[in-house]
């Protein structure tokens, strides 16, 4: 190892100080001030780092040792003890494979006791001292003690490299043991807990733990002093306090002088971000993914915490108890397999790096999945409706998982009287013909949970909602079923609902992508089947919107319209009119809003648009459609690029037209090109390249049409090309 001018630690500290002082910006957020404790505690809390050791370098050869040529030794100037001894790996003594490294290390300690400046028996006997740091590195760490009392932060460490043949070589000794201990006052009386709390100035705190130490400190001359001190853990006296985030503190207090040696708040620098696994649709599709675990209670030792909307909490430890109910939670889970009156709870180990992913296997998967599914659909709906509009968002809902009523196996339901969701445990259902089917726990089928939550939501929306004293869901039961299926489809962005209800059966229970038509003369009396007429209409609307605006914006608009129309409508037979009204800005845009054609076309296909019908020439505006001249070849000949939200293809025809046939004069097709990030790049738009040249001198007006995957015109835009008055250069 090369000689260094300053110790590594010192170099690091200086650089960091320099950097921070040179670019500290007063606008940066400041560390939150700590509100508790005496001035002495505050001062020590402000010191984040341990004091530095004064280190000097001494050439190994000056020690006149055997095989010393390969050694580099630095000395702790505070004690004159050897601080770090490094050995050239290949010159160090070869230690046979299988050697007891603890015993070997103790042997070295005895051999160099004088240089390391403490006696071999001044170490704690600890079998865990051996650490397999890496595949080829072993470390032995002995904690330093004096008269049986641990010297705080004092240890000696041995580093062994494992050679290819399994033998070891000692490569480094780090002696962080502070040299000979001499206690200034070895009979200072022990502190009482009350004294310690008074010194720290912590009101409403209590001592949870205490431990005696010998505390080294550095004198102004750079030597070490030692004194008896006690380390206290202070925790809030009232553990139920949750209105603020109570900190616990670790404080080392000198027994003789009552000075605070060191203090720090017991809080990780980083928040814990807790995510949990759940099925987007169903266990049978194995479509599980992680998302934040919001608003659950976490018990961290005596500390009661709650995760926030992002699943974050200031957790001290890594062992926590999760309860699937928090004060802000929109869901509370009762696992009937465990208890019918206590919220579901499970133990979890959080990751020390602050990012924890809890798997479905952390507990009964149907229990965690139900919580997460409720949160997923609630989070979606909360983007569009306020808590005033939909109190369910705030009050939450109780979900009973592993329901054990044999009459309701293979079922999930919303109980409007108890206002809870019921998810059956795994069981079987027997049909009228005597055949039976086995079912999984419905808590594993997220689609079912979204659907049932949709019923609870439906009850609270609309002019005759349950909050106004009206009966539950009763206005139109088929509409209610269609609403539940549509909400599920919008949540998962898939049309299928309920895969996996029957064990091993991946077929969906229902599908919103359908051709069900309303026929007044032939109404299916099963409300679930009848509900397909509405869900089918709305899924077509969703498809039209995503084809025009792209998936993100289209799904956003469809979900918004779905929830808005539920606030003004009570029957699926009038849903179309309500949607047209919503689209028109409640009439602000006239009788027809910007999406009139696409809404009408969707509902018309299911015979739900009443007397309104649209023909092929009803085409909504595509506001997302834009073009850019890629090359102006002169004389009005332009190569164009286009951009739009979701069109599968764009076609263009000269003039302000509604018909644009491939056989027509001047017809140009524009096909999707992948944004290369250089010429085109967007998170929301697609790009298209023209397969022909536009002649804007001959045709100063072009109509552009956005087509969906079936070639239906879902949007259009007419553009005027105007010659500039003055033409520079080319």
């Amino acid at each position: 190892m090369k000689k260094q001018n300053c110790s590594q630690l010192l170099c690091f500290a200086l650089f960091v100080l320099f950097v921070f002082s040179s670019c500290k910006n007063s606008d940066e957020p400041q560390e939150p001030s700590i509100m508790h404790g005496s001035a002495a505690l505050q001062t020590k809390l402000a010191v984040a780092a341990a004091p530095l050791r004064p280190i000097g370098l001494i050439a190994g050869s000056s020690f006149n040792l055997d095989n010393s040529s390969g050694m580099t030794i630095t000395v702790d100037m505070g004690s004159n003890a050897w601080y770090r001894i490094t050995f050239e790996t290949q010159q160090a003594e070869k230690i046979p494979k299988g050697e007891d490294l603890l015993a070997y290390s103790r042997g070295i300690l005895a051999k160099y006791s004088e240089e390391l400046m403490f006696l071999p028996d001044e170490i704690a006997e600890d079998a865990s001292a051996l650490h397999e740091a890496d595949t080829n590195l072993r470390m032995v760490t002995f904690q330093r003690r004096f008269l049986g009392v641990p010297v705080h932060g004092a240890f000696v460490q041995f580093f062994y490299n494992i050679q290819d043949d399994g033998s070891y070589r000692l490569i480094q000794i780090l002696n962080n043991s502070y040299g000979p201990v001499k206690l200034g006052s070895d009979n200072a009386p022990e502190l009482t807990n009350a004294e310690a709390l008074a010194i720290a100035g912590l009101d409403n705190y209590k001592v949870s733990q205490r431990k005696e130490f010998i505390q080294p400190s550095t004198t102004t001359e750079g030597h070490y002093d030692f004194s008896l001190a006690t380390e206290f853990e202070f925790v809030p006296a009232d553990v139920a306090v949750t209105t603020y985030n109570p900190l616990s503190y670790t404080v080392m207090i000198d027994r003789a002088t009552h000075a605070i040696h060191r203090a720090f708040p017991n809080r990780l620098d980083i928040k814990q971000s807790v995510s949990a696994e759940s099925y987007i649709k169903s266990y049978i599709l194995a479509d599980q993914s992680y998302s934040p675990l919001p608003y659950v209670s976490l018990l961290d030792g005596a500390n009661k915490l709650e995760t926030d909307a992002l699943g974050q909490a200031d957790v001290n430890g890594t062992q926590v108890t999760v309860t699937l109910k928090g004060s802000k939670s929109a869901a509370g889970i009762l696992d009937l397999a465990v208890s019918n009156n206590a919220f579901a709870t499970f133990a979890a180990t959080l990751s020390a790096d602050g990012k924890s992913n809890l798997t479905l296997k952390n507990t009964d998967p149907s229990v965690l999945n139900t919580y997460m599914a409720i949160e997923r659909v609630r989070t979606l709906v909360a983007k569009y409706l306020s808590e005033t509009e939909l109190p369910l968002l705030k009050t939450g809902i109780l979900a009973v998982v592993n329901g054990n009523d044999p009459a309701n196996f293979c079922n999930a339901y919303y109980d409007p009287n108890l206002k809870n969701l019921y998810l059956s445990k795994a069981g079987a259902i027997t049909f009228k013909d005597g055949t039976s089917q086995k079912c999984e726990s419905t808590g594993l089928i997220s689609d079912a949970i979204y659907h049932e939550w949709g019923h609870a939501m439906d009850d609270q929306l609309g002019p005759t909602n349950i909050i106004k004293g009206n009966g539950p869901g009763g206005k139109d039961r088929a509409y209610g079923e269609g609403i539940g299926d549509t909400l599920s489809a919008l949540t998962t962005r898939t049309s299928t609902i309920g895969e996996g209800l029957f064990v091993g059966d991946k077929r969906p229970l229902r599908n919103a992508q359908n051709t069900a038509r309303y026929n007044a003369g032939s109404i299916n009396t099963d409300e679930h089947v009848q509900g397909l007429i509405f869900s089918g209409s709305f899924w077509d609307l969703y498809t039209n919107f995503t084809a025009l605006y792209g998936v993100e914006k289209g799904a956003d608009l469809a979900t918004n319209y779905f929830l808005k129309h539920l606030q003004i409508n009570e029957s699926y037979l009038t849903a179309y009119d309500a949607l047209v009204l919503v689209d028109s800005g409640n009439g602000a845009l006239g009788t027809k809003g910007p999406n009139y054609c696409n809404i009408t076309r969707a509902f018309q296909a299911h015979n739900l648009s009443g007397t309104a019908t649209v023909a092929d020439d009803c085409i909504d505006a595509d506001t997302s459609l834009k073009v850019r001249v890629d090359l102006d070849s002169g004389d009005g000949k332009l190569s164009l690029l286009a951009s739009a939200g979701g069109a599968t293809k764009i076609i263009a025809c000269p003039g302000a037209v509604k018909v644009c046939a491939a056989s027509g004069m001047g017809y140009i097709e524009m096909t999707v090109t992948n944004p290369d990030g250089k010429l085109t790049a967007s998170k929301v738009n697609r790009f298209y390249t023209a397969q022909g040249t536009f002649d804007v001198k001959a045709n100063p007006v072009y109509s552009f049409f956005s087509l969906d995957a079936k070639g239906v015109k879902v949007g259009m835009k007419t553009l005027n090309f105007k010659a500039k008055a003055s033409t520079l250069g080319n």
């Binding site: 190892m1 090369k2 260094q4 590594q8 170099c11 690091f12 650089f15 960091v16 950097v19 921070f20 040179s22 670019c23 997302s624 834009k626 073009v627 850019r628 001249v629 890629d630 090359l631 102006d632 070849s633 002169g634 009005g636 332009l638 690029l641 951009s643 739009a644 302000a656 944004p675 290369d676 990030g677 250089k678 010429l679 085109t680 790049a681 967007s682 929301v684 738009n685 697609r686 790009f687 804007v696 007006v701 835009k717 007419t718 553009l719 005027n720 090309f721 105007k722 010659a723 500039k724 033409t727 520079l728 250069g729 080319n730």
Partner: protein, 166 residues
């Protein structure tokens, strides 16, 4: 040694985040190649084209004024691309010289790409362009388009504007 290395990296990272340091040089606006060369940071390996027969390409764009130390340009013509060239200052834009493109040939599309490091920042395409030895080509501001295009708005050309019909 390992710790030292990590330390250095952290310090370098923090320093970069500060952005207090500004390069001290200012370029003259004379448009003379040697002045621009003097202004180049030492790590720029490219040397200006000095061949007497080189074609000068002028980019008359206020958005490129003062960008000589930042951007480099590539010209493409007749299926040939020039090396990345450094820019010289003009009173109302920048210019650069290329001597590897076919001259005297039939007119073609001249494509200019302006890079910040490896990142393409602007593109200009000019149709029906002819290059001649020791000649110069002028590209106007209206032809110099920022890239990548995000599709948020329509963009016309030097001769045509695009308007949405009411």
């Amino acid at each position: 040694m390992r710790l030292i290395f990590i330390t250095t990296l952290i310090v370098a990272g923090l320093s970069a985040g500060c952005e207090k340091y500004q390069s001290g040089f200012k370029l003259s606006r004379s448009g003379d190649v040697s002045a621009a060369t003097a202004g180049q940071p030492s790590h720029v390996a490219n040397v200006p084209v000095t061949s007497a027969s080189a074609v000068e390409i002028q980019l008359l764009s206020s958005k490129l004024v003062g960008s000589e130390s930042k951007y480099k340009s590539v010209a493409k013509f007749g299926g040939v691309a020039s090396a990345k060239s450094i820019l010289s200052a003009l009173s109302s834009g920048v210019s650069f010289k290329v001597d590897t493109l076919p001259t005297g040939a039939k007119p073609d599309v001249l494509t200019i790409e302006i890079y910040d490091g490896d990142q393409l920042k602007f593109i200009a395409k000019q149709a029906n362009t002819k290059l001649s030895k020791a000649g110069s080509v002028v590209i106007n501001d209206c032809a110099i388009l920022q890239v990548p295009w995000d599709g948020a708005a329509s963009d016309g050309s030097c001769h045509w504007t695009i308007e949405e019909a009411k």
